[in-house]
């Protein structure tokens, strides 16, 4: 009975997220006015900005999990670290692609090696390495410790990405504030950030469960068949 209640709540949460996502997309694509200079192309902002923000948020979650794991080992923290690294990779890769598409008609180029874009590229490649590390280490405890160490080092890049546009002269514009953006656009942007945040939460929870189940399966194998065990070098 309780199982079924939980199941229904989950379905309701996913449907609610989808509803908010649809409304946010409508505000961004239809309701909000086009930009004075960019025209309709500016509407890419309502997907690009939230996506990249969720990448930074995932990176921060990953960092916190890594630090916590080193102080108090727990499979749950490790599972959340794995989940957040993967969502950082997914949201970052898509968000950067959107930025490149936006860059072509506004900057004139898809890509430039300015500090902001370079540091984001570094973060994405580094998290790809992190996921590879998790795959290549078979002992769950060692994997958890080593990926925590790696995650902490990668996370140094997160504040650098955020502040890069303020610290250095770059092609990428600095963060907008409500004062520099029309109120209608701010409204649409807020809804989109909320929507993508909810999507991130749904993804994180789903991925966390996958990771945790895998961890429990790995650590509670009663007796491995002789010879079937992987040799850990």
């Amino acid at each position: 009975m309780e199982m079924r209640m939980r199941r229904r709540l989950e379905i309701a949460a996913v449907l609610g997220t989808l509803g908010i996502f649809a409304y946010a997309a409508w505000t961004g694509l239809v309701w909000a006015p086009p930009d004075r200079e960019m025209g309709d192309v500016q509407r890419i902002m309502y997907a690009h900005v939230p996506m990249v923000q969720m990448m930074l948020l995932s990176g921060t979650i990953n960092f916190v999990c890594c630090v916590v794991y080193l102080f108090r080992a727990s499979w749950k923290t490790d599972a959340l670290a794995e989940a957040s690294a993967e969502t950082a990779l997914v949201f970052g890769a898509i968000g950067t692609t959107l930025g490149a598409i936006w860059g072509r008609p506004t900057w004139g180029v898809y890509w430039a090696w300015d500090p902001r874009l370079t540091t984001v590229a570094i973060l994405l490649v580094a998290y790809a390495g992190y996921m590879a590390l998790r795959r290549f280490v078979d002992d769950p405890e060692r994997r958890a410790v080593w990926s925590a160490v790696t995650g902490i080092i990668i996370a140094v890049d997160v504040p650098i990405i955020y502040f890069s546009v303020k610290w250095w002269k770059s092609l990428h514009q600095v963060q907008s504030t409500p004062r520099t953006v029309d109120p209608q656009m701010v409204y649409a942007l807020r809804w989109n950030i909320t929507a993508f945040f909810l999507v991130l939460i749904v993804f994180l929870v789903a991925r966390y469960r996958i990771a945790l189940a895998a961890r429990l399966r790995e650590t509670t194998v009663p007796e491995p068949a002789p010879g079937a065990q992987q040799v850990v070098a």
């Binding site: 960019m38 898509i94 959107l98 598409i101 008609p105 004139g108 469960r209 945790l212």
Partner: protein
């Protein structure tokens, strides 16, 4: 060949890289497809009850 060259030059002649709905459509298509594909992959990897 000459035609293709001409159209490239004509693009310069227009004076601008024209931005428009094509860019918006491409961006949102990539975004939604990407997220949907990831959701599908999460669904495919969901932990199943192991037969005891």
């Amino acid at each position: 060949m000459m035609n293709a060259l001409h159209s490239v030059l004509a693009a310069v002649g227009e004076g601008r890289i024209q931005g428009g709905w094509e860019y918006v459509k491409a961006a949102y298509a990539i975004c939604w497809t990407g997220l949907a594909l990831y959701a599908v992959s999460l669904w495919a990897r969901r932990p199943r009850e192991e037969p005891k």
